[in-house]
Amino acid sequence: MNSLIETVFFSEKRKAVLILLFEKGPLPIETIKSELDETSVSILPQIKVLIDNNLIIQNDGIYQLTHLGETVAEKVSPFIKNLQVLSVNPKFWSEHDTGEIPENLFNRIQEIGDFKIIEIDLRTIYYEPNPIIREHIKNASSIKTFITYYAPEYVMVYYDRLMSGAPVSITTSDYIVNMAKDYKTEINNLLQLDRAELNVCSADVKIAEVTVTDKILLMVLYSTAGNLDYDFLAAESPSAVQWGNELYDYLRSRSVNKKEI
């Protein structure tokens, strides 16, 4: 018998078989071959290793995980999947502070799937919204945004959405709310609308922004040194939006709802 490290990690094919059976359940060899694009000759020896190490069993031509195999796959599979997503841009994930994302959500980071990093030209900040970001928000049929930095250039984009009938939920810090006090009357009038929501959180939450529409997740993290570099992570899969909603709900749950400022 081999060590589990050898059995699981020393072969891409074995790793792939474990993850496949974990995700799809019991499968005949033909399906395993076609799913993994392998031939009998290339995959059967690896399957035999998994069988010899008690991780899978074969009955009547159907392969499935043993309970031990399932325990191992349940531990390893999310990790491998997460690494696949993080490996898209390991530099980004090594330079940005993710400590504020709750562990149960970060452990599901695979759900954001394909993402891209939109770098904002710092010279344009304070004057107009970034065109790519605005494009993503301008037709949104709902917006939730958690933001701890001052971005007045986006106020009109959000105002447009609110006026078009989209529900808009904003969670921000005391500090930002104070900066907006000049527009107290206008803001309080808007907050009369059922579809407008304002929540106030403490200023020391170390996430710069999480914006979730019906179509996209946008996230800005502080650098490990605590600086803001305006690198927007943008992910558009439905699972990314779902993940973003959960992150937003978590951040909102740590804030206080305000009917007026």
Partner: protein, 261 residues
Amino acid sequence: MKDESISDVLFFSEKRRQILLYLLEGPKTIDDIKSYLNSKSSPLMVQIRILTRNFLIQEKNGVFSLTPLGEYTVREMRDILDMFAVFDKNPEYWGEVELTAFPAYLLSRIGELGEVELCYPSKAHIFDRARPVEKSLKSAESLIEISSIFRQEYVTDYAEIAERNVSVAFIFTQEVIDRLEKDFPESYHNYMKRENVRIFVCPEIKLASCMVTDKIISLSLFTKKGNFYNHDLISYNNSAVLWGTDLFHHFRSLSMIHNLQ
């Protein structure tokens, strides 16, 4: 060079794993790492360069630390290695026993059992508990027993512990309670009247027995075929005792308190 996947970087080198696990304790200088690994500079620097190039660790003013990506990755790796260490210590055993006895979330934390020892009795003691179990029972400050089998100790050693007024909790199947009540009425009634003893009845327990004291956990499992042979899988690790306590809470939530009819 781009072909290095993070999981290969983690799992293909024992030395790299050691460096990473050491850095999980906190930032370290190169001298710290050298003396911890008892290694010369040059081979160590090769590994450190690989880890840096893959964004898992960073160096600042001669101090090495994990990046956020490294922090997540190494925590997960440690959990996986802990689980693998438990399974790899007794691979035949884990391949053979009925793991559905445990809820999935506790199986996923099985690495917390830490340094386990599988004790089989000698022929002359074939029906006895393992020596370390007998010994630790004598000094137990608390006792939990989850069991679907009747053990003679329940009316001997365990009764003595109950006499010492330490907290005792039994989770039995109805069958075990019936046997106790019918064949050992004196012991049964003695338990029932003691304030420090609680008896719960659980409709289904798929493990043979599990004993948890303040110092030790001992597991006895059925094989997948439903057979039982006398053995104790023990661990003295603190995390193992906590794991056992969580197992108790799991079964407790499925149980009713047992009262005199």
